[in-house]
């Protein structure tokens, strides 16, 4: 087993000594190196192979925030455990949700610290693990510690600034965009490099939402954008001509029984192909299907799989075929449709045809 190197950063020498002594029992798993502030910690990081950093936030010379900011650009792969004496369980829970980093309350329980170190080291060796501290966690620590500062955040070719006064986010800007819109964008950036300066020139508040809300909404908007991009990417690859060909075949099979049919993207309900397109019916089936999925998932029942059928009053029948990201709905005249034909011929043909068009 390879012995890992842990760097513990704190300005209290006796505390560091007691931690080093206490953690000596884990010498087979990891060895401990110490530093009294961020500046010393950076020297250690520059000169040794460090697998994990455990740091306090409040230190003279160079504090934990400056160290974390430096690590975000220079050592983004090293996991971090933050120690602070001013947190609450609610803040801890929020912070844990925001990223891969761990958070510990002072005074420390040595066994808990050892467990957290072991967990962090184990998970950091997983290929799916995101290393280092996230911007969201960093911002919440700033709020918790009531910091006044200006953050410059970089991610790929983007750059933005976040301004804090006594832990309150006052303003955000990226390019020509300012305020909530800029904050919602910046907080969701990935692989960020952070620079921190303990000055803030902004006096007037330009942000209307609380930080926690900005973080949640920022991530939601990012997920939504990613989903739309993924659907748009698939649509570009989809052979719509082929889909229309299959719809034509199905129309021939079902004859007058087929009133209308639409294939739409579940993310936005936009129709991709259809016959007698009925946007209202597509939106309705999209909504009903999503509600079915929610109800079934909530009840931990068998998941909805290939399709659902609704027999409606007024002699109408609806079938909705479910594919990843796309659904295909058909509105039928129940007096004219034969269920055997629908389920044994039309459904398999539609499924095969759709999959061929997607993989074309």
């Amino acid at each position: 087993m390879v012995v890992k190197n842990i760097l513990i950063v704190d300005d209290e020498k006796p505390f560091l000594l007691s931690l080093t002594d206490g953690l000596a029992a884990y010498a087979e798993e990891f060895t401990v190196v110490t530093a009294l502030n961020g500046k010393e910690a950076i020297k250690v990081l520059d000169s040794s192979e460090i697998d994990l950093v455990v740091t306090d936030l409040r230190m003279p010379t160079m504090d934990g925030f400056e160290l974390l900011a430096h690590m975000s650009s220079n050592y983004p792969g090293i996991p971090v455990i933050v120690m602070t004496a001013y947190g609450t369980p609610a803040i801890e829970e929020r912070l844990q949700k925001m990223g891969t980093f761990q958070y510990l309350e002072k005074p420390l329980d040595l066994n808990i610290l050892a467990d957290k170190i072991t967990d962090a080291l184990e998970s950091s060796s997983s290929p799916d693990h995101l290393h280092g501290i996230t911007l969201a966690a960093f911002l919440q620590l700033l709020e918790m510690e009531s910091k006044t500062c200006t953050l410059t955040v970089q991610s790929q070719d983007k750059e933005g600034c976040l301004y804090f006064v006594k832990g309150e986010l006052m303003q955000a800007e990226t390019g020509k965009v300012k305020g909530d819109e800029a904050a919602l964008d910046i907080v969701a950036w990935e692989n960020v490099a952070i620079e921190i300066q303990y000055v803030c020139t902004v006096k007037k508040k330009g942000i209307g939402m609380p930080l926690a809300e900005i973080l949640m909404e920022g991530f939601r908007l990012k997920d939504e954008k990613n989903e739309k991009e993924s659907v748009a990417e698939k649509e570009e690859k989809m052979d719509v001509k082929k889909l229309n060909g299959i719809i034509k075949e199905i129309k021939e099979d079902l004859g007058e029984a087929l009133i209308s049919t639409d294939i739409w993207a579940t993310a936005d309900g936009q129709t991709l192909a259809g016959f007698n397109s009925n946007a209202k019916a597509a939106a309705l089936l999209n909504r009903v299907g999503q509600q079915f999925i929610d109800a079934i998932t909530g009840a931990k029942f068998h998941a909805l799989d290939k399709y659902y059928i609704l027999d409606l009053q007024d002699n109408k029948l609806v079938i909705c075929l479910m594919f990843p990201d796309y659904w295909w709905g058909m509105l039928l005249d129940s007096d004219k449709v034969q269920l055997g034909l629908l389920l044994n011929v039309v459904v398999p043909k539609a499924m095969d045809g759709f999959n061929t068009a997607v993989s074309a």
């Binding site: 209202k280 019916a281 939106a283 309705l284 909504r287 009903v288 509600q291 079915f292 109800a295 079934i296 009840a299 029942f301 068998h302 998941a303 909805l304 799989d305 290939k306 399709y307 659902y308 059928i309 609704l310 027999d311 409606l312 009053q313 007024d314 002699n315 109408k316 129940s334 269920l339 055997g340 389920l343 044994n344």
Partner: protein, 123 residues
Amino acid sequence: MDIKKLNEILEKVKKELGDGLLGTDIWVAADGQAIAGVNPNPKASALMNRMVNITNEALKDAKFPLLGKYFLHHLEGEHIGMTTLIGDYRWGMLVDGTKAQLGLLLNVVVPETMEAIKEVVSA
């Protein structure tokens, strides 16, 4: 209401569908409480009852015709969940799609059983 008769009707369904029938219940639409069943599954009855309500609400909002006789879901593991609407009552069943024939189910078992249940509940 003749509950014994309802249970007999469901036993007949079991006989017709054999191993294909995983469970079936008849419940009151108002509260989702089951009054008869074979391999009863109260959780499934409550869920299906909720799904009838969800569907009808969405249909009503969109000014579409409401649910008629039934709705059917193809579920993972080739299971079929089917719920039929009989006045103030609902009859639901969970079927193994690899063992039960859908044609027999939809064209024979369902119409006959719905008629028989209707007779008992409206007596």
